[in-house]
Amino acid sequence: MAIAGEELAGQQSSVDRIKAPSRLRVVAGGLLRSGRGRIGLALLALIFLLAFAGPYLTRWTYVSKDYTAFLAPPSTEHWWGTLQTGADVYAVTLRGLRRSLIVGLLAAVVGTALAAVVGAFAGYFGGWTDRALTWLTDLLLVLPAFLILAIMSPLFAGSQWPVFVLVLALFLWMVTSKIVRSMTISLREREFIHAARFMGVPPTRIIFRHVIPNLSSLLVVDATLNVSAAILTETSLSYFGFGIQPPDVSLGSLIADGARTALYAPWTFWFCAGLLIVTVLAVNLVGDSLRDALDPTSRGAGDR
């Protein structure tokens, strides 16, 4: 019996090994087949390349100032011109882009993980756990996120931006967690969950091994779309000086400064605003086509 079980497990794992990449390939294929996904991925790759390799192409850094050129238009010396302080727009913008990307990615991952765990626990256990967690979710939905984040902004000063990421993530998970909860409630009654429960698998293990992996498509899509939501929130906060604190820069603080000089020095505004829009657009395009690729019944699947 034990041997047979082991053999079965061995077969199962070899089946898994064959199957796992093919699922990935199917999704990747679906993603690449749609025009939206292709454009989104290409844009995203370009943006990442620009954010992480771009700064090495210029001799200016985001803190260096050129005292011979204040608010100078784009030239061979300063590719995207300079700010009022003499800072190089290209270097500063890429620094801000990098900061916004990192904050957005981390906050989205943390937020989605939180949504998955809270939603799955609430849905799986039901009863008082469910009631308490649902109430907590509602409470966070009702609290004005922008206000709380803004109040806590003094905490993010200096090099404390990871705290900012955590607080940002704290306000990203509620809606998804509600969806995860309702999906878990229906998953709970499926045969494989019953089987696991009757075999004596502890509930926490069932949740992490069986429930959450079965919701992975939803979570992947949600994490992607959360990236753009996090970037938008971060830039809006930084715009009003409540997010990333100086001397560090983010796209939001750059846009706030640029908007003041945009009329007579358009390069201070349009480069950072444009990059922000393209980034969010690319993330949304990838998220949207990922949803189509992961969900075979999706209406948008035929929508190229």
Binding site: D138, P144, T235, L281, R299
Partner: protein
């Protein structure tokens, strides 16, 4: 139905109380009103500052819980305390709520109606030119944050005014102070002020609703009951508006509550950038001036607004969906 509503209302009330209390505690411990009086020349005596802060119930020498009780006692009687400059929070916000509600209502109605109509039309003519165009446009609009959109609109309006050689669209404030002329002139002046903030508020909504409505409409269009309705002799137009649109509206109504919160945040940016003296502008100002009482009052207002929207969407849901009314 009545029991369900009462239970829901009680739950909402408790949520508002907890959310507002939490906001107060957070604001009272994170913001530092004392710093408003620092750095003066000549420096104010500590005793004077203390007396002033105690008068406003903002003294950090008093334990947080005691301050909270004083504040909560006032709130129960309907008094949200005083602003840092000594005025009444009630009066200040009462004046501002009107401004914000005007802006939100116009933006919400325009945005959702335009979005639903565009989405429904795009779904009926799927893959047509209009459908493709609105899909691309909505993707682009959804990628533009309100702060950028508002600034782009301002730049565009200034260029437009320059080209026209006269002030067509006005950028700052709700109305021109000291304007002469009759009612018509005043109304025209308000509209000129209103165009840009409304656009910056509702463009995002239009994009969201049109995407959402298009997908819902597409799901419904293939349903059997539409075919049945047409088979029974209803014209295509009647079947689409009376049966398809109504059914497809249900999820959009549910979505309403969620967009409302986003809209409140959106007004914050819009008001601040366009210089409208509403609640949203005060939110940004109150944090920079360490105005704890105003922050708490605004959280209460925001929580109330979100929950009212949730309640409204519940009721609308029941009106539109017969299955809910039974249960």
């Amino acid at each position: 139905m009545a029991g369900f509503l009462t239970r829901r209302l009680l739950n909402y009330l408790m949520l508002i109380v907890v959310a507002t209390s939490l906001a107060y505690m957070l604001a009272a411990s994170a913001l530092n009103p004392r710093s408003n009086y620092e750095g003066r020349n000549p420096p104010l005596p500590v005793a004077v500052v203390d007396a002033r802060l105690t008068d406003l119930n903002l003294n950090d020498g008093t334990p947080l819980f005691e301050r909270y009780l004083t504040w909560a006692g006032g709130v129960v009687r309907g008094d949200f305390g005083k602003t840092v400059s000594g005025g009444s929070v009630n009066e200040d916000l009462g004046r501002r709520v009107g401004v914000t509600l005007r802006l939100i209502t116009i933006g919400l109605v325009l945005g959702s109606v335009a979005g639903v109509l565009i989405g429904a039309y795009a779904a009926v003519r799927q893959y047509g030119l209009f459908d493709r165009l609105t899909t691309v446009l909505s993707f682009v609009v959804l990628a533009i944050p309100t702060v950028v959109l508002a600034n782009v609109l301002i730049i565009a309006a200034i260029r437009l005014n320059e080209m026209a050689g006269t002030q067509i669209l006005l950028i700052s404030g709700e109305a021109t102070p000291g304007l002469r002329g009759g009612l018509a002139a005043a109304a025209f002046d308000r509209i000129r002020h209103l165009v840009l903030p409304t656009l910056s508020l509702s463009l995002g909504l239009v994009a969201v609703y049109s995407r959402y409505q298009r997908n819902m409409m597409l799901d419904v269009l293939g349903a059997d009951f539409i075919r049945t309705a047409m088979a029974k002799g209803l014209s295509r137009r009647a079947a689409l508006t009376r049966h398809a649109l109504r059914t497809a509206l249900i999820p959009a109504v549910t979505y309403f509550a969620f967009t409302f919160g986003a809209l409140l945040v959106g007004t914050t940016f819009t008001e601040k950038i366009f210089g409208w003296h509403g609640v949203g502008e005060q939110l940004v100002n109150s944090i920079s001036t360490n105005d704890v009482n105003t922050v708490a009052a605004i959280s209460c207002f925001a929580a109330l607004a979100v929950l009212l929207a949730a309640l409204a969407s519940d009721v609308l849901h029941a009106v539109l969906d017969p299955r809910v009314r039974v249960g």
